[in-house]
């Protein structure tokens, strides 16, 4: 006689009637494989009971006893609400801190930006800004004798001039700007500015200007 898994489960769950139970037990007595399948189902049941039965022996929390007695506990509902809420939410203190820092930034930001920069870029060079330049040339010297102040002031402007006179990148590359060479098929750096762009604008054809000497008929 064959017994399917559902029958074995019903057996261990106590759902078989007396006759079916007796038939299964008789078959299992002389069929080790069947007995093993029954044991497998019994093990799972026993394992689950072992895991959860200790809860029965735990002392019941006071709040549950109170709830069973009908004692209204507002904090319980609040806690349940907490449980139900997605965890990624901001708490009120966090939101308040966020708002406060935003407000602080909004108030302080313009004030901080309004104060003149210490350094400014002039012709590609970094020089002291107006306030710093004034401080460097006037404030530190203000407590010193007048002639010393004059001398320092003069040397300060000399230094500033030196910085400003340092070569900037903007003009340096213009004489040697690359031009396309049709002869070599590559970009070349011409040694001096050529009238190229102007002529190129009126050149009859070709993507780039070629000197007349190099011009070949394009067919």
């Amino acid at each position: 006689m064959k017994f399917d898994d559902e029958t074995l489960m019903a057996y261990v769950d106590g759902e078989l009637d007396a006759r079916a139970r007796a038939a299964l037990e008789a078959a299992a007595a002389c069929d080790p494989a069947l007995a093993q399948r029954i044991a497998l189902q019994q093990r799972l049941r026993a394992r689950l009971r072992r895991e959860f039965d200790p809860v029965l022996a735990e002392p019941v929390p006071e709040r549950l006893l109170a709830a069973a007695q009908g004692a209204a506990t507002p904090e319980a509902s609040a806690k349940l609400f907490e449980l139900r809420r997605p965890q990624a939410r901001w708490s009120w203190p966090q939101l308040a801190a966020l708002a406060a820092s935003l407000l602080l930034g909004a108030l302080l930001g313009p004030w901080l930006l309004r104060s003149p920069a210490s350094f400014v870029t002039r012709d590609g060079a970094l020089v002291a800004g107006d306030t710093l330049a004034h401080a460097l040339s006037q404030q530190l010297a203000s407590s010193q004798p007048a002639d010393l102040r004059r001398r320092r002031s003069a040397s300060a402007s000399a230094r500033t001039a030196g910085i400003t006179a340092a070569p900037s990148c903007s003009g340096a590359s213009s004489p040697g700007s690359p031009a396309w060479s049709a002869a070599t098929g590559s970009w070349k750096h011409s040694p001096r500015p050529s009238p190229g762009p102007v002529v190129a604008a009126i050149a009859p054809r070709g993507p780039r200007y070629r000197p007349p000497s190099q011009r070949v008929s394009m067919r």
């Binding site: 559902e6 489960m9 019903a10 106590g14 799972l44 009971r49 895991e51 959860f52 029965l56 549950l64």
Partner: protein, 177 residues
């Protein structure tokens, strides 16, 4: 579930349990309700919150508790519904459906290695909700198929198939198959 019950027994005259009686019986049921909730929610604090919610609901509907009916089954049903509501109100977030996916994935593994075996609670938590509830009611709480099917509001055939699938998945996850 209450609608189901009332349609079946609408012609009977109900003798409702008195509120003091109900409270006494609820206190007596607390250990079993806590065990059931623990099997559903895993986390002990969440489980006790669930029991508390079920108690509050039960007392709010004290008029529906019949003196001659099984109060345990009624309470299991309220707790189970509270748990389903709780899961719904948590929304359809990944946490809800990932365990089911994981269980299906686990089920595909023919031979989990010893090191990967899960604890009973972890394995149970990975079962789809309806299988977990069926396993908890029958295998842990020891209810009959009829009682469990009534609590879950499904035919007995549905209950037994959920039980069978839940058992099979648990045995695979626990390395006992």
């Amino acid at each position: 579930m209450e609608e189901n019950g009332s349609s079946e027994r609408s012609v009977e005259v109900w003798r409702t349990v008195s509120v003091p009686d109900l409270r006494r019986q609820l206190v007596a049921l607390l250990p079993r309700l806590r065990r059931f909730a623990r099997a559903l929610a895993r986390n002990a604090a969440d489980a006790d919150d669930l029991v508390q919610l079920a108690l509050e609901r039960a007392l709010a509907r004290a008029g529906q508790a019949r003196a001659d009916s099984d109060l345990g089954g009624w309470m299991y049903g309220i707790l189970r519904n509270a748990w389903i509501d709780e899961l719904r109100s948590r929304g359809r977030r990944a946490r809800l459906f990932a365990p089911a996916e994981a269980a299906r994935h686990e089920g595909d593994d023919s031979q989990p290695r010893q090191a990967e075996l899960l604890s009973v609670q972890e394995a149970l938590a990975r079962l789809p909700q309806e299988q977990r509830i069926a396993v908890a009611l029958v295998l842990i709480e020891g209810l009959s198929y009829k009682e469990a099917a009534h609590i879950m509001q499904v035919p007995i055939g549905t209950l037994t198939s959920r039980l069978a699938r839940g058992r099979e998945a648990l045995q695979k996850m626990l390395g006992d198959s």
